[in-house]
Amino acid sequence: MAEVEESSKPMFAGLSDISISEDIPVEGDISVPVSSHNADNDFSTLDEPVKDTILRDLRAVGQKFVHVMYPKKSSALLRDWDLWGPLILCVTLALMLQGGSVDSEEEGRPQFAEVFVIIWFGSVIITLNSKLLGGTISFFQSLCVLGYCILPLTVAMIVCRIVLVGGSGLVSFVVRLIVVTASFSWSTFASTAFLADSQPPNRKALVVYPVFLFYFVIGWMILTFSPSQ
């Protein structure tokens, strides 16, 4: 400590000799310009109409939907993460999977709470797993990515519902199987495009497998959904 002190003293010791001569006038303006504009900017989102706020959030959510449907290496999903999109998708999926009738004799139809819990706790477990494996992504960013990548499966659910209106024979089953398989692999591919980058390269398979299992379970719930007659 003492040696470092002495070596640094010569660096700054000379500054104590500087003196300002009286010939050079020193003048200036010390007042700090009060920028009331900055204060207004911080609170301006409180004064705007509600429609603007909602539309701005909806636009952000819609932009992320586009990023999911065409997964390319962009960091928009990771940078401005939000959980509105996953909530909307999760509620939509759970409502559609519930079906119309409140018949208590119906077998094995997933309840609203079941779907909700599966999606959110599954996402939490996958996030914990990827963090334990040494991932660099944060908790909520990972939740955001996994939630947004349910979008293809929600689209498949809508398609399945439409197909089931036509009938529930073998042809409709094959069509639904193809649609659900395609959307489930799309979901897995889209989420690994965002998640796998944050892992060390030789461990990507360890992170991809739980994601695959997660979307497989959701896809299975969609495929075995049959509306009550």
Partner: protein, 352 residues
């Protein structure tokens, strides 16, 4: 408390060493010394927890955070003290004092909460158990079906949790599939809850029970190793269930139950035998484990099985999948009697 006194000591030491400097630059020197002091704090950027125990890391983090908070607090209270001196009159006194006290209470509470959180919810505790490569996982999965030959010295058991956890979740998914296709009705509860409860309950419960028995029988195995061993033993179960939930042949199931279930049980039993001394302890431990493991597979198959195959054969003619058994030719009356008895038995079983 000790960190506060430490800091005071360093500050007074620096002040003592710089009293030879001229007045305007003494604070500048303090900053230099404090800046040098921050070289010690750089260690928190070293994110390597593989070697150190989690308690040391937790303590180090805690100490650094406390130091930072103490310096922030010291700076804040210095400013407040300066303003406090300027305010005259009782109203100003109470305002400042109240705010200061509230601030201190808030800081203390926050520190307590963050200390508790860092100690208990520290995910770094589990990090070493997830440090695996995909090829290691694959090798261990295959090894779980190969019984070891050498039982006179302790066999190595890998202590990792990634493989067992993924296998338990896979089994949950397979069970869900089985429950759906067999049309199981769960009255009190949900399908998902039952599947998760069964799989995790087996893994954690039987591991703890066998660990307790191994403590009684003086076997050399830790809880982590037992969890890992049983978890990998579920690989055989997953395979058998996956095949037999889709291909409903009883004889096929019994064959797979004996062969694959038997192989994975034999592996677990051999590892336990190699770590236990004495005939009776070995018998108790391995007998229990073998019985529980094999019976669990039997239970999983039959609990979610199509119980009423007889009815399906005779009633739902056009929908018979090609692999199911074909009904034998029996007279109409006899078949009606058989169907009635099967229906009543099914009703009795389902009402339980």
């Amino acid at each position: 408390l000790y960190s506060r006194t430490c800091l005071c000591k360093t500050m007074s030491a620096s002040q003592g060493s710089t009293n030879t400097n001229t007045e305007p630059w003494s604070s500048f020197d303090n900053n230099i010394i404090q800046g040098r002091g921050s070289a010690v704090i750089d260690m928190e950027n070293m994110d390597d927890t593989s070697g150190s125990s989690f308690e040391d890391m937790g303590e180090m983090h805690q100490r650094m955070k406390e130091e930072e908070e103490v310096t922030a607090e010291a700076a804040a209270t210095e400013e407040d003290n300066g303003e406090y001196g300027d305010f005259l009159g009782m109203k100003g006194l109470k305002g400042q004092l109240g705010r200061q006290v509230a601030d201190e209470v808030w800081q203390a509470g926050k520190r307590q909460a963050s200390k508790a959180f860092n100690l208990y919810a520290n995910i770094d505790i589990l990090r070493p158990y997830f440090d695996v490569e995909p090829i290691q996982v694959r090798n261990r999965l295959i090894e779980s079906l190969i019984p070891v030959r050498i039982i006179n010295f302790p066999q190595k058991v890998a202590g990792e949790l990634y493989g067992p956890m993924m296998l338990v979740f896979t089994m949950v998914a397979i069970l869900l599939h089985g429950m759906k296709t067999s049309g199981t009705v769960i009255r009190e509860g949900t399908l998902m809850g039952t599947a998760i409860g069964t799989c995790f309950g087996y893994w954690l419960g039987v591991s703890s029970f066998i660990y307790f028995l191994s403590y009684l029988c003086n076997a050399q195995i830790t809880m982590l190793q037992m969890l890992s061993l049983l978890g990998y033993g579920l690989f055989g179960h997953c395979m058998v269930l996956f095949i037999t939930y889709n291909v409903h042949f009883h004889s096929l199931f019994y064959f797979l139950w004996l062969v694959i279930g038997g192989l994975s049980t034999l592996r677990m039993v051999a590892v336990l035998i190699s770590r236990t001394v004495g005939q009776t302890p070995r018998l108790i431990l391995c007998g229990t484990l073998a019985a529980l493991h094999m019976l669990f597979l039997l239970y999983l198959h039959f609990a979610y099985h199509k119980m009423v195959e007889g009815i399906l054969d005779t009633l739902e003619g056009p929908n018979i999948p090609p692999i199911q058994r074909v009904a034998r030719d029996v007279p109409v009356v006899a078949s009606a009697v058989v169907n009635a008895t099967i229906k009543s038995i099914a009703a009795v079983v389902q009402s339980q």
